[in-house]
């Protein structure tokens, strides 16, 4: 039994896109938390912290996201409970996103001239105060555009969570295709919806880059 691809299917796809947005937000939240932790570990200057960050970033950036998803999906299940796909996705994206966001933020902190730290120290600020009141506000300006740019990568990569059973946009596309057997229309519609989600973020990232980089 096949039926043709119509409004109800499109509506189903748009509804599934909510899961894409949700997984993206979860991934970004995990990535931001982990990225902040990476910054703290690295900037606190310990040798152990630096080593942990190196391994963390290497794993997060050197293993394909698809493999990370499978690894955590099957890896967590050996702890003896059945893993909800959303949990596996959150953990896998937490690793992937935090490694990338951590690198972006560390780069931004590195780009702040050393004299800014020294000036803060001269004023009698503690390390935490220097970080919070002097360095972070400046680093934030530098980091904002690439961070938003990376959110585009996150949204696109959430399509991979379809392989562990989350019915987000890409999986919904397969479902609709199985019912209508109009693959070109269905997957073209999928691409358009992803584009509608991602393009504004890309434009925002570019706009921020232009606006915030003029000062430098």
């Amino acid at each position: 039994m096949t039926r043709s691809f119509g409004w109800p299917d499109l509506l189903f796809l748009i509804e599934a896109a909510r899961w894409t947005v949700l997984v993206s937000l979860v991934a970004f939240a995990g990535g931001a938390l982990g990225g902040a932790l990476i910054c703290i570990l690295k900037l606190s200057g310990g040798r152990l912290g630096g080593a942990v960050v190196r391994v963390w970033v290497q794993l997060g950036q050197g293993i394909p996201v698809l493999m990370q998803l499978f690894l955590f999906y099957f890896g967590l299940s050996i702890l003896g409970f059945s893993v909800p796909p959303l949990l596996a996705a959150a953990v896998a994206f937490g690793l992937y996103a935090s490694a990338n966001i951590g690198v972006i933020w560390l780069g931004a902190v590195d780009a702040i001239p050393k004299q800014q730290w020294e000036a803060g120290e001269t004023l009698g600020l503690s390390w935490a105060q220097q970080m919070r009141q002097v360095i972070a506000p400046q680093a934030l300006r530098l980091a904002l555009a690439p961070t938003v740019g990376f959110m585009v990568q996150i949204v696109k990569n959430t399509s991979l969570t379809s392989v562990i059973g989350i019915v987000e946009l890409a999986r919904a596309g397969q479902v609709v295709n199985n019912a209508t057997y109009q693959p070109f229309s269905v997957f073209f519609a999928i691409c358009v919806i992803y584009f509608i989600l991602c393009f504004p973020l890309s434009l925002l990232s570019r706009g921020l880059e232009r606006r915030l980089h003029v000062a430098h």
């Binding site: 290497q58 493999m67 499978f70 992803y194 393009f199 890309s202």
Partner: protein, 232 residues
């Protein structure tokens, strides 16, 4: 937690993993080589004074960069047959990766072309070089050196992205992993091993590129450019 790691499945699976590894390397090399050519044309289009060429290049770059590779691969592998174009999984995978890689390298090369100083074009004109000669002998070599780091980083990303083509049944190493997992039920061990294989390939690729980069940038205009930028 009483779970013992079991790698006994490895014995019968080595030939499959080996041919998967070869397919991964093949896909990566083809996509990076052809994708770079597409990228150079795309970059020329993005800077072209001729509106239709510029619009087409911009549409291509934005469409690809703002949609997931998985959806692009689905459209090519499942969608094109509906239009009468049937591709084998490997061809579809290579095509999807090439088109994807091309959009990213187009932006990289565009930045490289824009970084070439105006005086270089003027000098080429003074030497009576044609536009073709200027591009091939003046612009491209210098742009290549200045984009080399970004380009090689993109190639590493393509290696990792090639894993996604397992979803359109291209028989590269991730697909081999999926297949072994489904018969051995040792998902964690299988994906742990394959993850380490990817990690090793990524590290090998990075060291290879930095080795080549060392030779390439030594005593060259690009090398001096990099050195000058590094020491302001």
């Amino acid at each position: 937690m009483n779970y013992t790691l079991d790698f006994s499945w490895l014995q019968g699976s080595l030939p499959m993993l080996w041919s998967g590894l070869q397919a991964t390397v093949f896909l990566t090399v083809v996509a990076c080589a052809l994708g770079s050519l597409v990228g150079i044309v795309g970059a020329l289009g993005r800077n072209s004074p001729w509106l239709p060429f510029r619009a087409a290049a911009t549409a291509y770059v934005e469409a690809i960069r703002n949609t997931p590779l998985l959806a692009q691969a689905f459209l090519i592998y499942f969608g094109l047959p509906a239009l009468g174009i049937s591709l084998t999984p490997m061809v579809a995978a290579g095509l999807a990766l090439t088109i994807n890689c091309g959009a990213y390298t187009a932006e990289i090369f565009r930045a490289g072309f824009e970084a070439i100083q105006k005086s270089q074009h003027e000098a080429a004109t003074a030497l009576n070089l044609s536009r073709r000669q200027t591009f091939l002998h003046i612009v491209l070599p210098q742009a290549f050196r200045s984009v080399y780091p970004a380009l090689s980083a993109q190639f590493v990303l393509i290696l990792m992205a090639s894993s996604i083509t397992s979803q359109i049944s291209a028989e590269e190493i991730s697909a081999a992993a999926n297949q072994i997992q489904s018969t051995s039920f040792r998902g964690f061990e299988v994906y742990l091993l394959i993850s380490l294989v990817y990690l090793a390939m990524v590290l090998a690729m990075k060291s290879l590129f930095s080795l080549i980069g060392g030779f390439l940038l030594r005593n060259s205009a690009g090398g001096r450019l990099v050195a000058e930028r590094a020491a302001p």
